[in-house]
């Protein structure tokens, strides 16, 4: 696939150069398989193969984009896509700023994080994994749901200013298994992210599920009161929260468009607890990194927050052009988010240190949304196995509850961060396959968070 894609893009680039078209391209191929489970059965077993060419023609400050989803062999259709993009560019309006397009420097192929064994896993191997991970935890009342998704992405980028073709490929696996009581309706979950087959560990999933299952089966749920609580988040919940903050906080373009909760006055200032450090680090393999962005910029470690201090905005090329800033290699489908681990020796919920106040544990956040972008207010519900740790560290079970607060408060006072880390797969499957994961502490304890609604049932 690698040779095919590189050769094809080089040929398309030659075609455009021959026609005097100035163009840039992304050629994307993917292979996916997803097993979905519901009611302890496979509800869907699906395979997909897809090839997509996205071409943008540039005529100075005018641009037109054309994309086609088609066969790799459909070279004539791809060539006409280039011509179509150029026709759109001819009709397009000029933007009111200069547009950057630079020759791409050839970089070595970025395919070290590709594992044929993971991509080649067949359905029965996956079902074996699922059976091992769940073991004997299913009953006639406790039903299994979940997904086991594996796939591969091959991508090449180029533009007509050089003959370079930059190539990136990555394999990825995402597992999430949930156990639900069909009558009582409570749910617990465990997830795993894999970049190679050897990352897969069914025993780990089983251990997480059994711990939570044991608590949920033997404890009556209770309705908590609304108000301020100390909260422990799992790595999954933390990754989701930070993902949202990256979106409404760290983008220079969004800041200039008055839609960001972080602004220039926050630069260099301490805005969060000094235990919090957030970087984008393409050297961390667990994040399915790409070492270059779609413009061919080499990516390197980029610090957003260091010991609570906001360091810098990221700039995609178009925003950098419009607002006269320097692009930072962030035209990517997903960041390589890494949050620094802490000193607290916590490997599982059994190791949670004693709490001075009644503390809530949120393993997963459900349906997060932004209530107010510039004030950084979000809302989301607990899901998949929330817990109460009371002052004696006795574990109880709450019905789900809603958290509504702003990022400045959420990360203002961090009591501790666990020493162990975990890769959290944050890929979504809209549009093109684009594996993404955050590498984060397994647990974090936050002080004084607003719980604004409590459920009276599951």
């Amino acid at each position: 696939m690698k040779a095919k894609i590189k050769k094809l893009l080089a040929e398309l680039n030659n075609f455009a150069r021959g026609k005097n078209i100035t163009a840039e391209y992304l050629l994307h191929a993917e292979k996916s398989n997803l097993i979905r489970l519901a009611n302890s059965a496979v509800s869907l077993n699906t395979s997909e193969e897809l090839v997509k060419l996205i071409v943008t023609s540039r005529r100075g400050r005018r641009a037109g984009t054309y994309s086609i989803t088609t066969d790799l062999s459909a070279i004539d259709r791809m060539k006409s896509a280039i011509v179509s993009a150029d026709e759109i560019a001819q009709s397009a309006d000029e933007v009111n700023y200069d547009v950057t397009l630079t020759p791409m420097t050839q970089l070595p192929d970025d395919d070290v994080n590709f594992d044929d064994a993971l991509v080649g896993m067949n359905s029965s191997e996956k079902l074996d994994f699922i059976n091992k991970a769940v073991g004997t935890l299913e009953t006639d009342k406790i039903k299994l749901s979940g997904i086991f998704s594996t796939g591969a992405v091959w991508e090449a980028v180029a533009n007509t200013l050089s003959e370079s073709v930059l190539f990136h490929s990555v394999s990825d696996g995402q597992i999430s298994l949930e156990l639900t009581h069909s009558e009582l309706k409570w749910e617990i979950a465990a997830t795993q992210s894999a970049i190679s087959k050897s990352d897969l560990n069914p025993e780990k999933i089983q251990s997480q599920l059994s711990t939570l299952l044991n608590i949920y089966q033997n404890t009556s749920p209770e309705i908590i009161k609304t108000g301020k609580y100390d909260i422990i988040l799992s790595g999954e919940a933390l990754a989701e929260l930070i993902g949202m903050m990256e979106y409404i906080g760290f983008s220079g373009g969004l800041f200039k468009r008055k839609m960001s909760c972080l602004r220039d006055e926050h630069l260099g200032k301490k805005i969060f607890d000094d235990k919090l450090t957030i970087v984008d680090d393409p050297a961390v393999r667990e994040t399915f990194p790409s070492v270059f962005d779609y413009n061919g910029n080499q990516r390197s470690k980029f610090t957003f927050v260091e010991n609570g201090v906001f360091k810098q905005f990221m700039w995609d090329r178009d925003s950098a052009d419009e607002f006269n800033e320097k692009e930072t290699g962030h035209d990517v489908s997903g960041l390589s988010t890494v949050i620094s681990s802490g000193n607290e020796l916590v490997s599982s919920i059994n190791d949670i240190p004693e709490n001075k106040e009644l503390t809530l544990f949120i393993p997963h956040l459900h349906y997060m949304n932004i209530v107010n972008m510039t004030e950084g207010i979000i809302t989301a519900c607990s899901r998949f196995g929330a817990l109460i740790f009371d002052k004696e560290n006795k574990i109880r079970v709450p019905f789900n509850f809603r958290l509504t607060d702003n990022f400045f408060n959420i990360f203002n006072d961090i009591e501790w961060i666990s020493n162990e880390t975990v890769a959290v797969n944050t890929s979504n499957s809209y549009g093109m396959r684009s594996p993404a994961a955050a590498f984060v502490p397994k647990f974090i304890k936050l002080k004084n968070i607003s719980i604004t609604h409590v459920n009276k049932s599951f």
Partner: protein
């Protein structure tokens, strides 16, 4: 042999190999175009073309699916779907059975006079440039306007002998203005193209009348009021929801809650379940007796009307909630059989024609058609305001977050107008409201008449894994709910 003949051969082969049922959806062409102006700059001018086939096979009660944009090797594609079904049948709890229906040979075209793809890029840019100019104002910090069009040709063929060809063209368009308060925080106001369920929705739907110029003036004016407004109160009061938020209230907390696959637990690994149980049908008081809700796929003109679903079942008009009582659900051939068997009674008479896939590479799922609320007898918006002691009129969807079983929700709006003793008063900023689901719908105390109703288009309803984004509609009047928690 042309490709449809080849598909028929492959489907017949699947039957020979032991498949109980199989269907294929072939997309000879799907074209999209999107154009976006941001702050006077043409930020996006993009077209796309897609070709592909999706194959669904039922074997021993289990589904296998395979899809490809590579249409040259059909035996491999159909074989892969079959193997996936065989593998899936190794872990079964309730074998899939499909409700009977007669095979159909039919065609469907969505109503349009002017194909948006026949309009030149320059003409579309002219249209948006005018809107962009209209939104330019000293209080507007950012202005955005967009048009997207999507034209799909879909050929559905199944092993029962169905052959359905659909030509569906949708156009979505809208605009938004963002302004900055003195304290540096931003506010927004937006408008999206909608309709009334009739007429056509080709390019003519955008350019006829003065929808965009008039609403551009209105949203800029309202933004100017929000920017100097006080914060919305934090208390308990009546909320009067205009269609610009009432559609989403209905979508999230009736539509999704009544998808039968959710009720049966098929979405627990992602979107969630539903508080509704099979024993609730025919009995549960979902809302006050002013609440009648239907899933109406027969509305002549809406993104939620598509002729025939991807089960090969004709679109229908189904009453979901009748005078407050839960009656029916959003259903497919698979789920009604399972639900009826599990309930031990025939709750659902026939498949609701609601199984839809968002593209060739996705499997059909229960999706909303047009989930509409019947207009009521409580008059105009003014009449509803006049009868309100302490309330707030709300519009615009800024944020929505719903419990995993749709048992509770939280919404944030773009704008609110306080109502005191029957008078509409000043604008307030940052309004929010939240509630448990059933107490909320049971507190429905007024439903506006037909004059208050609008068909709101939804281009982005997300569901399923692999994820699917679906188009649909909601024809919704103004509604009032009492004793609702606001401002949190």
């Amino acid at each position: 042999m042309n490709i449809t003949q080849k598909i028929k051969v492959e489907l017949a082969n699947l039957k020979k190999k032991g498949a109980e049922y199989a269907d294929a959806r072939f997309y000879p062409s799907r074209e999209t175009e999107s154009i976006t102006f941001l702050q006077g700059n043409l930020k996006e001018c993009r077209s796309s073309a897609t070709t592909g086939i999706g194959v669904r096979v039922l074997y021993n009660g289990a589904w296998g699916f395979a899809s490809s944009s590579l249409t040259e090797n059909l035996p491999a594609l159909f074989g892969s779907a079959f193997e996936n079904a065989v593998a899936a049948s190794n872990r079964l709890s309730f074998p899939v059975k499909l409700a009977n229906r007669k095979p159909i040979t039919a065609e469907y075209s969505s109503p349009r006079r002017i194909d948006p793809f026949d309009i030149s890029v320059s003409e579309k840019l002219d249209f948006l440039r005018k809107i962009d100019k209209k939104l330019e104002h000293n209080i507007v910090a950012q202005r955005i306007s967009y048009v997207t069009s999507d034209k799909q040709k879909i050929i559905f063929i199944d092993t029962d002998g169905s052959h359905i060809e659909k030509n569906i063209c949708d156009t979505f368009a809208g605009m938004k203005v963002i302004g900055v308060e003195k304290n540096g925080n931003s506010q927004e106001r937006s408008y999206e193209l909608g309709g009334d369920g009739f007429g056509t929705r080709g390019w003519e739907a955008l350019v006829s009348g003065d929808k965009f110029p008039e609403n551009a003036d209105r949203i800029v004016d309202e933004l100017s009021q929000i920017l100097v407004a006080e914060s919305a109160p934090k208390d308990t009061r009546s909320v009067i929801l205009l269609p610009g938020i009432m559609f989403l209230q209905t979508h999230e907390v009736i539509g999704h809650a009544l998808e039968l696959d959710r009720i049966l637990g098929y979405e627990l690994s992602y979107a969630g379940g539903s508080f509704v149980r099979l024993e609730d049908f025919g009995k549960l008081r979902y809302g006050s007796d002013k609440l009648t809700v239907r899933a109406d796929g027969t509305l002549p003109n809406s993104p939620g009307s598509y002729g025939y679903d991807d089960d090969g079942v004709e679109c229908q008009d189904t009453v979901l909630i009748d005078k407050g009582i839960l009656k029916n659900a959003i259903t497919s051939r698979q789920t009604i059989v399972e639900a009826n068997e599990k309930a031990g009674e025939k709750i659902f008479e026939k498949a609701g024609g609601c199984a839809r896939a968002s593209n060739f590479n996705r499997i059909p799922l229960e999706r909303m058609t047009n989930i509409n609320i019947d207009p009521g007898n409580d008059g105009s918006l003014n009449d509803i305001i006049t009868s309100t002691e302490s309330g707030i009129v709300l519009d615009g969807a800024r944020s929505w977050s719903i419990g995993s079983n749709r048992e509770q929700f939280h919404f944030a709006n773009e704008i609110g107008w306080l109502v005191k003793d029957g008078e509409k008063g000043e604008v307030v900023k940052n309004p929010t409201y939240s509630s448990d689901t059933l107490p909320f719908w049971r507190s429905l105390s007024a439903v506006g008449d037909k004059s208050t109703a609008e068909l709101v288009y939804v281009p982005n309803c997300g569901k399923g894994l692999p994820s699917q984004q679906m188009y649909l509609g909601h024809l919704i009047p103004v509604c009032k709910f009492d004793n609702v928690k606001t401002g949190e």
